[in-house]
Symmetry: D2
Subunit: 345 residues, 4 copies
């Protein structure tokens, strides 16, 4: 059945897979010391316009969040996140498992506001009486957020300024970064992110790779003995080539951006199908995840023709569901959805 359930329903983008096939027989050294890892790192630094950055590869998003947070923070430092932030809700307490507190602040369609962060940080750094508390030392944002929304460049600049004011790290979770960067609604480029964030990651798993995320540390911020630290967390892959080859492919001839652009196009067409039929959106998302409000009986009917994700109950008669596009979404898929919508309305 045609599926819009998520952006990780299919395998790797064909060009990524082909590179795995092409390089499969080569003898390469392990643990990320191979030439494809090196090449991918260089291409990423170039794409970021950040020659001094340091790039590292990990397998998945939760792992990356946990590694970044638990290797950059110390002692009684904590990380500020939106109430709805992925680390606060859907990572099974991974940050706390690694010993650190997630400090909730209010969210606005999944986003933080700089003034809230400032207010929280001020209570800690404003005077000297807070040694019994957790010190906020990092601000975690996701871009796109869990609701598909995006920060504007001005908003990112404000957050970066607050972080700078209190010597906190700004950490951007880019699990779906490709879709954010290619949204028609954004004024934020990869260069901006590399400039404004202290550390961020470029998501692979949800943007065309089988698995893999690329962390980009600003110069000097990669924790010492990083290989040992990720080994210790069970996050070091023996055949590091698996990640290097995939990111090398994703950053060759702009494939990463091409995937984002394709999903954006498919998303626009998908939105139109709903808009044309007067179906409301739960949130006005400018990226590949679309949250749609369906009347329950219609939702049940629609399920017979296409797959999508349950998000949450809105009221007794309506449900919020998610449709996602990705590298594998086709015009044919959209036609199937169109026909299905026509049948159930």
């Amino acid at each position: 059945m045609v599926s819009f359930e998520s952006d990780y329903i299919a395998g790797a983008h064909p060009k990524v897979l082909q590179r795995l096939v092409d390089t499969n027989q080569e003898s390469l050294s392990g643990y990320g010391t191979d030439k494809y890892c090196s090449s991918a790192k260089e291409k990423i630094k170039k794409a970021c316009d950040a020659p001094d950055a340091e790039v590292e590869f990990l397998t998945g998003g939760t792992q990356t969040n946990m590694v970044v947070i638990s290797t950059m923070l110390r002692g009684n430092e904590g990380v500020i996140a939106a109430k709805t932030g992925h680390i606060n809700c859907h990572e099974a307490g991974s940050v706390e498992y690694s010993g650190y507190k997630v400090m909730e602040v209010e969210q606005y369609e999944g986003k933080l506001k700089a003034k809230d962060v400032d207010a929280l940080a001020e209570t800690f750094y404003g005077d000297e009486n807070h040694e019994h508390m957790v010190y906020p030392k990092m601000v975690y944002i996701s871009h796109p957020t869990e609701y598909g929304t995006l920060y504007s460049k001005a908003e990112l600049e404000e957050l970066a300024a607050v972080c700078k004011k209190y010597s906190m790290y700004l950490f951007l979770d880019g699990a779906r970064l490709g879709y954010g960067l290619m949204s028609k609604a954004t004024d934020v480029s990869l260069h901006d992110i590399a400039k404004l964030c202290d550390v961020f990651y470029i998501g692979g798993t949800k943007v065309g790779a089988l698995c893999g995320e690329a962390i980009v540390f600003k110069k000097g911020l990669r924790p010492e003995h990083f290989v040992g630290l990720i080994k210790q967390r069970g996050a070091l892959v023996a055949k590091g080539r698996m990640l290097g080859v995939q990111f090398d492919a994703l950053f060759t001839d702009g494939l990463y951006f091409e995937i984002g652009r394709h999903a954006e196009e498919m998303k626009e067409k998908l939105r139109k199908l709903f808009i044309d039929r007067g179906i409301r959106f739960f949130i006005d998302s400018p990226t590949n995840q679309q949250f749609v409000i369906l009347e329950n009986s219609m939702m049940e009917e629609l399920k017979k023709y296409v797959a999508f994700s349950f998000w949450e109950k809105l009221d007794a008669d309506h449900t919020v569901v998610r449709f996602a596009t990705g590298w594998s979404t086709t015009e044919e898929d959209l036609k199937v959805l169109e026909d299905a919508l026509n049948k159930v309305m």
Copy 2:
């Protein structure tokens, strides 16, 4: 250059890779809930003759060791391991990072002796005065060991008996299990292991997969909320299919054993090259890792023709090096080694 450096120098076995290619476009649900994971689990249970077992997939060996140990132990329980055990030496303190103590005992060519385990356990369980100590609750063995050696069936039975005596879990690290099972020198079958161990894993990364290990829990021993626990440790893969498809391929038509058999054959031929030339072995390993003693100047010469791994210095004039075979080792590779040996001797 032809390389014998390790058993993770190449990508995936061609049949494994082909299955990834064949299934790449399918829409599958995430986090290990897809049909390939299910199918692979069934095949593995069948191969183990353990219909009640529970199988789970993870990405790599250190991760698997940490997950198994830290989810099965509680509080002040600890895990007994050989001084040379991988968890004690080469996993960057991963077990301790997760809060548990590795309790060293003597090693004999990488193996534990049941009597040493018994003696250690006896000091704890023998009387009631040890509440200030760590309680040994698990025995970790690797098979093959870090030196390529193997337990005999009788030795495994003795260890299992000691574990039963003190209600400890017997945990077998099978990162290279395929090579052990297919060694001509072994009397231990996969059935034996499934019967004698409380938990063990079937290594994929070093036996033909790009990545992946399959944990086999004896009935009732898989920790509750296991998905949450591995998510919490950053070990849950979004595209779980990546692991399911690979293990499904490895356990189709006996591929896993076929890979082991091939490496065993290549290993026998490789050994002969050394034996014929009077080159000594550091340890008499019956599996795919061979530890050879080379005179230093000859070693330097040999490096120019083939790649192998440094293991340790033996004395001022000699070095122990490792040659490993695997699924990708060919007769041609051995010919290159033969020629190289002829040149340098």
Copy 3:
């Protein structure tokens, strides 16, 4: 200077201290195995009317919270607490350090509402789709709260019912329990608490001891190997007598309740001093901590005569300050305060 800064400004209640002096020369076994620990445990069980309960002694409140939570929870379980709960705000991230998530809910003058707890638990236990989340498994309340407020018996019963509904533990932090139990405004007895809570502690440090808290576990809920677990957390005291003797004294001839009663009486007189002068309260606290709103210049004047604690700024011209009574508060202290108030108003 006469001080109302807190309820831990003085040493031990004279009767408690005297018992330490009287027993000082006795030879007693260590680590809580002495006769005073046994005797104190029996007296506490009797005072609780809970003959099957299990009592354990620890040194301080944060330690006790961390020990209870981290030994009763497992894996990806978490603890629900009010936004203002001590474990969420003023324990330097101790719960997270031990690996567990504090799950914030709204607070009402420091208290939780059963319906909010129910709603949060329902999202987790309501269906089977939440394995990527933290499971709420414990509800933490403080009684008196951080604002001096108290739960009514009906409120405690409602919370207990919600906990039972979802198989969660109800844990009551009684750091200031003596003051709560003796409040004229309460309808909650120690028997009620022992009946309704799965685990709670009777605070000593702030109610007449030099240090010490007594945990009361409902039958069967004390974690196995508890001595080992507290040793592991650095919380086992070699001279366990120090805690046993103090609690034995506190629970001899009702001293614990007598201390509470005295502080309550002093508190009533202290309140009257403020009420008579038209000074407003920030919160209407029925226990020994009183939060008073002072005009800033008057506050500065008052500081010259008596000591009290800064709590928070209310607005540009007013500050919230805390006055606390305790075992050591005397009529003379109150007279000094009265004179001081007369001078500054």
Copy 4:
């Protein structure tokens, strides 16, 4: 019954207790900010001849070891200890619970040898290939050791030199330091220890206090936000005066050394009782713990008259037992022991 079971069988030294009594009614600020903590710190720095040192107080030995190790180490760093070191054997895995590995080396009557430490460190720091291992970053020694033995000044200097060579911290566990410093057999002074160690602690619990240990950090080595870090570990005492007053008393008029001297004298007389009767020692301990080999039936007889500790079984007919002296040991106690020995021999 007269007891030689341990050095923590009695309460506090009378002078220490008296100071608690004398200061009990004073109003003092909490959490270690009172004047007695300050005064005690100054006196300790003076006794150490280390004006730049930083002193902190904690409650007990295991807590102190865990706090020092887990706040000074980072990531995949570990601590070297003797096989018989207290942190390796009798602290319920506290160091591992806090995430760090104890790296065992051989012991010689409880002591480490500098050459063994050097050899272990060399394997890690000798080349660049060890990022999958734990880095030794601290050396833990106890002085006196668990067997009552002492390092000579030359041995400490050698250890300090090895630590310096590899930039490792030398950490001395002085739970029984007073007894070591006053041993007639030692050439090591408190000044020497303060000069040679990066961090050490002066044990109070076993040397005259009810509880309490004083950590001495070399200038600049106290971890940042130390109060927050100990709060986070449940180790911050609300009535910090309890520790400050006791140490202030211990370091007034040389009481700490006086206690050591008394125990040493008692120990000499106790030894003579055994020597005169031809009773053998298990280890030749120069401090207050004496390990004596008793024939089993005689041991059972002796138990009827005086109390002592079981240490370990030597053979079928003999047992090693421990007799300890301390501040509370009297000439009368020794007379009782003498009479008892006369009865059973």
